[in-house]
Amino acid sequence: MTPSLPVIVIGIILILGAPILLHLLLSSSSTYTTPPSVLLLGPDNAGKTALLTLFERGSQPAATHTSQVAHSIELNASTDSVTRSSFRNHDDATGTHTKFFLVDTPGHGKLRNVAMGRLARTEKVKAVVFMVDAAALGEHDILAPTAAYLYDVLLFLQKKATSKGKDKASIPVLIAANKMDLFTALPATMVKSHLEVELSRIRASRSKGLLDSGVGMDDVGSEEQDGWLGEYGSEKFTFQQMGEFDINVEVLPGSVLTEEPGADKWWWWIAQRI
């Protein structure tokens, strides 16, 4: 019973190779494709959850209250069907539909890290919808935190777009100016200009502000701490400056609660990005 050399070699190859072969076979056969995601961000009371329920139900949004956890739903969008420009496409059979997840995040200040964590962790983020309450944006008390949140989001996306490596991606942003049906609502252009002015102000004050605790002396002035949003050194911030990083920012008006102007514009924007 003395096995010949080829038998030993073949045996060893078989024993070592079998697990690898099995793994390759299994990993190729199972197609775990995660559908793309669209994130809903924004301060509390902007209408994120209401928009989510509107898209899901197709008829009317459900009553909502302050969210505490992120929640995702599954939706289908298409760019070539009959009802492509409307979210009421639940029983539309024409065209090709793409499945995607719409992820709602809590907007409360204390839970913002949940939302930002979601933005950092979610795979295949195709677009970010940042909801603002256009009716309340005229007041400084609402505008300031809204802009601060938007600043954080844009800065995160900018870092992601400029980063080198695997997770480099440029994600378009839609600023959905909600509650256009209300009397005090600002028109979309005003929403845009208000936010731009406030963002320039935040950018200026951040650049002059104190360092964060935990930043050591040797980190000062390094690339990572450099948090300048948009075109460096520019006086005024405009959303166009984000184009430098391939981040397309658009402001579209709409309202969740009423038919007119409705949410179709937002839906079409999302459908095009999926």
């Binding site: 959850t49 899901e56 459900a62 969210s67 505490q68 995702s72 102000r201 605790s213 935990g214």
Partner: protein
């Protein structure tokens, strides 16, 4: 009476609600923010098994909210009523509704990627419970003005992925609740127009019988078509949800529908008035009315519904008892052995459902770790209790040990606690006060910051650090010497001002000292300084105060007057990182010292460079007061002031020893 009852998820969607009086949604929003997000009520993370009676009621100015919470499903049950009323049965109502709702719709809630829960028919169960518990109340007062399921009806027959979400379903709900529930309320005589909410219940309730008759016969044709649908639907949903119901007249009901329905109003009317006369119907009643021949399907349904509800409640009770019994009596030797082995295995592999016993030891370790990081005992214990309650019943992930799970839960809990509710950009706040936008009608005035604290924590030092930071941003700063007590305090500030002047001469800022010598009333000095600054066009006033012992009532009481006189925009308290357990009492007393309508706005944690990783004091301070940390002092120089970064603090707190 009740004002509203709502069933909502933690993701913010209202699944089912009924309101009897208009309730502003902001009441429930505030309740959620205060109780669940900011945890202001002092209760630690709400645990699952608690009933509404043990959960502290939330009070807004006019309303009282009672609530209960189902953790694994993320469901919140809230009832809103006027604070004037003392409704003893509300706790029981909330608990029973919780049990019933979870039993009926719990399965639907576990589905991922959807917010749809079909619970239109829940109204019946709710009515039944309300009837049963609220015997004391007058019948006429229960007129829902709005009753909605998860999806409100729009166009009839619209389907979504094979599920009927409106139209027929809503009609079914409406007809069943209107016709077949013989609750002796005016509700029963409500016209069953699908999807249209009855505008005002009051007039309907007061309508004469004739008018009501007209009303009903008028609506009869409309409802007749839906009736078959409704019974069909009931059968359909009966499969999934209505276990244990005895359909003693199932076929009967089906046949009768169409022809009886046409003059449905008449029998239902008689039984209605009958019911009104007798009061709540019993089983005996039902038999009686059937022998009369004026059978309304409603009778049977009421009886069934009541039985069903009782069944659900009883089985829930039994399950609970069984569970507790099981936990006491251990299974046999073999069983326990297998359990132990699989438990050990799961410890390593993950996928283990955590119980209190599993967590106990690991939580002790975490508590000790926090204590070692200089977190006050009180804060550490409460943090750990919160995390423990959050984790009980949670499954660990793949290859995730209990310790890793606790670590991550503690991290998120600390992050949530330390993250401020609103942004703390000091420069922007100063700008908005000193140069208000033209559209607002405020006048420009100096921004007033005052600094308080215990003796020797570094009030004057931190004040001059803030001053240096402001001067670099080209503000004109006035420093007011509010310490009129300790000898040398004014001179100390004068030295700081002289240094700062020299340091920032080139930067373009301007700083002056405002002082009135010793022995004067500090509050008056502060007020004069603010007036002086307004006249001279300063941007910021920094007020130093005398250090005081937090448990000396005499010294602390002068702070209230100080806050009233100087009207500071920001009151910052300086706390040492060195102090241990006493920090909790310090923070509490200072926070309460400024009167009922003013509190601290932020903490400055000084001497952080002297403690290394042991930054637990800031957790104790924030924990005790819910006031955010604004600045951190990290050295001896004017430039050694830092914005507080939550990530940094959490990393330090959880880092190994």
């Amino acid at each position: 009476m009740l004002d509203a009852f709502e069933v909502l998820t933690t993701s913010g969607v209202v699944l089912w609600s009924r309101s009897y009086a208009p309730v502003s949604p902001s009441i429930v929003n505030n309740f959620i923010a205060d109780t669940f997000i900011e945890e202001k009520t002092g209760s630690i993370a709400p645990s699952d098994s608690q009933s509404a009676a043990t959960n502290p009621a939330y009070r807004s100015d006019q309303h009282t909210l009672k609530w209960t919470f189902v953790k694994e499903l993320g469901l919140i049950f809230v009832v809103v009523y006027r604070s004037l009323l003392h409704l003893s049965w509300v706790d029981k109502l909330v608990d029973n509704i919780k049990t019933i709702f979870v039993e009926l719709y719990g399965e639907q809630l576990t589905k991922p990627h959807t917010t749809l829960v079909e619970c239109h028919s829940f109204g019946e169960y709710f009515d039944q419970q309300l009837q049963e518990l609220d015997k004391s109340s007058t019948v006429g007062s229960i007129n829902p003005i709005d009753d909605q399921g998860s999806s409100r009806p729009s166009a009839a027959g619209l389907t979504y992925r094979g599920r009927t979400i409106n139209g027929g379903a809503a009609a079914a709900q409406d007809t069943t609740s209107a016709d077949s529930t013989p609750v002796p309320t005016p509700n029963a005589s409500r016209p069953s127009t699908p999807g249209v909410v009855v505008a005002k219940a009051g007039p309907v309730a007061k309508m004469s019988r004739r008018a009501r008759k007209a009303h009903n016969s008028g609506s009869a044709p409309a409802s007749s078509g839906d009736e078959a649908l409704s019974s069909n639907r009931q059968k359909k949903s009966g499969k999934a949800t209505k276990k244990g119901r005895k359909w003693n007249a199932e076929g009967f009901a089906d046949e009768e529908d169409d022809d009886v329905q046409l003059d449905y109003s008449r029998p239902s009317l008689t039984s209605d008035s009958e019911a009104e006369a007798v009061g709540r119907s019993s089983a005996l009643d039902a038999v009686d009315s059937s022998t009369w021949g004026s059978t309304s399907k409603g009778k049977f349904i009421l009886k069934d519904l009541g039985d069903e509800v009782h069944d659900i409640l009883a089985s829930a009770q039994a399950q609970k008892a069984q569970k507790s019994a099981r936990s006491e009596t251990k299974t046999g030797l073999l069983g326990s052995g297998v359990n132990a082995i699989s438990g050990l295995f799961r410890n390593v592999v993950g996928g283990k459902t955590l119980t209190k016993e599993d967590l106990d030891k690991a939580m002790k370790g975490m508590e000790e770790h926090l204590l070692r990081k200089n977190v006050a005992r009180e804060a550490a214990v409460r943090l750990c209790e919160g995390v423990e309650k959050e984790l009980i019943g949670v499954k660990t992930g793949n290859f995730e040990s209990i310790n890793a799970k606790i670590q991550s839960a503690m991290e998120s809990s600390l992050t949530k606690m330390l993250t401020p509710t609103s942004s703390l950009d000091l420069l922007r706040e100063i700008d908005s006060i000193t140069s208000p936008p033209a559209t607002s009608l405020r006048k420009a005035r100096p921004y007033v910051i005052s600094i308080v604290g215990v003796n020797g924590v570094g009030k004057s030092t931190n004040l001059s650090k803030i001053c240096f930071f402001l001067l670099q941003n080209k503000y004109k700063v006035l420093i007011a010497a509010g310490d009129t007590f300790r000898s040398g305090a004014v001179e100390q500030l004068a030295v700081h001002v002289r240094n700062l002047k020299e340091l920032t001469a080139r930067e373009g800022g301007r700083v002056e000292l405002y002082q009135k010598g010793y022995g004067k009333d500090a509050a008056a000095v502060a007020k004069d300084a603010v007036n002086h600054a307004a006249q001279e066009g300063y941007d910021v006033v920094l007020i130093d105060t005398a250090g005081r012992r937090h448990n000396d009532q005499r010294l602390m009481s002068s702070l209230e007057k100080f806050a009233k006189f100087a009207q500071p925009d920001k009151i910052l308290m300086v706390g040492e990182a060195l102090v241990g357990t006493d920090s909790v009492a310090q923070a509490r007393n200072f926070n309460a010292a400024f009167g009922s309508d003013r509190a601290l706005d932020g903490f400055i944690i000084s001497k952080c460079d002297t403690v290394g990783d042991m930054v637990g004091t800031l957790v104790s301070l924030v924990h005790a007061t819910n006031v955010p940390v604004v600045f951190v002092g990290v050295g001896q120089h004017y430039s050694d002031l830092r914005n507080f970064s939550v990530k940094w603090a959490v990393e330090k707190l959880l880092s190994g020893n």
